[in-house]
Amino acid sequence: MIELRDINRIFEVGDEKVHALQDIRLTFEPGEYVSIMGPSGSGKSTLLNILGLLDKPTSGSYLLDGIDTTSMSDNQQADVRRNKIGFVFQSFHLISRLTAAENIALPLTLAGMPPKQRDKRVMDVLESVGLTERAEHRPDQLSGGQRQRVAIARATIMRPTILLADEPTGNLDQSSGESVIEVLEALNNDGIILLVVTHDPDIGGRARRRIRMVDGFISEDER
């Protein structure tokens, strides 16, 4: 369960103040499938960064599973990011010298889990994204769709509350984009909150709840 209360985000660019988010009020229930669409500069990415605790709101509060995150220290926020939030990026962000399995294990490694337990968890999620035979491949030996599925496996290995996907199909062709979306939707069916930011109306239209943003406001919120 996620609750945003009167979130404002103001950037100072030179002397000018840019109001990227204005009084955003949103609630996401467990198992929700949400898409956020809107033109460039409408504040979608800023909203995503705030939801992912990568950025701090200028004012307002953000409750994640009933806990106020806005007053947390940096390291507490890092803990929340590790345990409750999964990121999927347009450019995958895999570490090129690590194998698929090692990339997926990264959050577990950061959490200090011993290698044996890690391996078991990694094999489980690799199976769920259909990449068991690719475990020892490096990112440059994988196709774009496979890379994104590795990234999704990494984002979900800590069993987060919310999965934030920023243009997850932006760098993919039609068919691999389709398969990536199917993997994400399957995860959503297991109860994870799925939030997809996209330009693509076909992909945005698949979500059960569709939010449109313009100039830092929420202009539409359809269910």
Binding site: L54, D74, D79, I95, L110, G112
Partner: protein, 401 residues
Amino acid sequence: MRLADTLLYGAGNIKGSPVRTFLLLLAMSIGVASVVMLSTLGEAARLYVVNQFSALGTHLLIVLPGRSETAGGAPPMLGTTPRDLTLEDADALLRSPYVKDYAPIVVGSAPVSHGSLEREVTVIGTSASYATIRELETAQGRFLPASDYDRAAPVCVIGETLRRELFGHKRAVGERLKINDRRFRVIGILADRGQSFGMDMGDLVIVPTTHAMALFDTESLFRIIVQATGRSAIESAKRDITRIIKERHEGEDDVTVITQDAILATFDRILKALTYTVAGIAAISLAVAGILIMNVMLVSVSQRTPEIGLLKALGASREQILALFLSEAALLSLIGAASGILIAWFGVFGLDRMFPAFPLGTPAWAYLSAVIVALLTGVGFGIMPARRASRLDPVSALTGR
């Protein structure tokens, strides 16, 4: 995050960019190798001097005429003697229970000839005790016989070089040679011991004291080498010698007594200081390697900005990112130190082959300090880039800005 995982991650980065790693290791290992090798050389120089002193014989004191003490007025020069040091003075020293033996020494230079061959060499006038005190051995024949000064026969012992020059392949022992037109019979050849304090022990003639005094027309001794009864007796012997000579010289304290230990200790101190200085200079190259590590790490931080942003998004704390980068710097320094020590070993081995007489041995502190300094510079200079990495803003880091 587990330590093993942190180190593995750092090791992965090191392996990931081999050229960068090679250059860093080169700089680091040159620094470490120069510290280890230069301190080895310094230590070897010290050992060499110490060995030279023990080659001089054991428990020795040297009595010089003249006083090396400033007592107001113009500083008296060493060797400007108010009174001669005589053979009688030397004999009197045996009255001390702490003096085991002594050898008087007269030194000069004179032409030595055999047949038509002539050479100008050092002539030492001394007694039979000289051989035992200086631990000299003869290769052929024997050393000067023990006898009263007045009745000493005109015999001599010559060095190996002089034997070769004057006699070649012919037998030398029993032959006669001329020193300043006085005739001497060769009774022994010194074993070849090379140099001793700059004096070539191969190129000299040793004759009985009184004959040397007659050759150089002097009544005075150049110095007296005294052997104490033991190491603990050296100080007492020094006191006795000063007292005995003072009595004989009408209360004038006009000799200088030098103990072997005092000279040795001074040289030891000087050379130790020199070794540390040289090692310190070599440590500068380590600091240069440290700055190189800092530079390369800074470049690496900006190259890997998206990776750092990702780690932050995955929930890495500042401390974890700091630890990741520092472990990389520490690993580089350790590997650099290890390969530096390896290079130093080969270097020392090579030097040992080239100069077998030089007592090369690397002191343990050289290894230890080289490794510690390498680690400190590596991690010390790694802190700044690592802090920069840990403080990156995740949003801009992810987009590579």
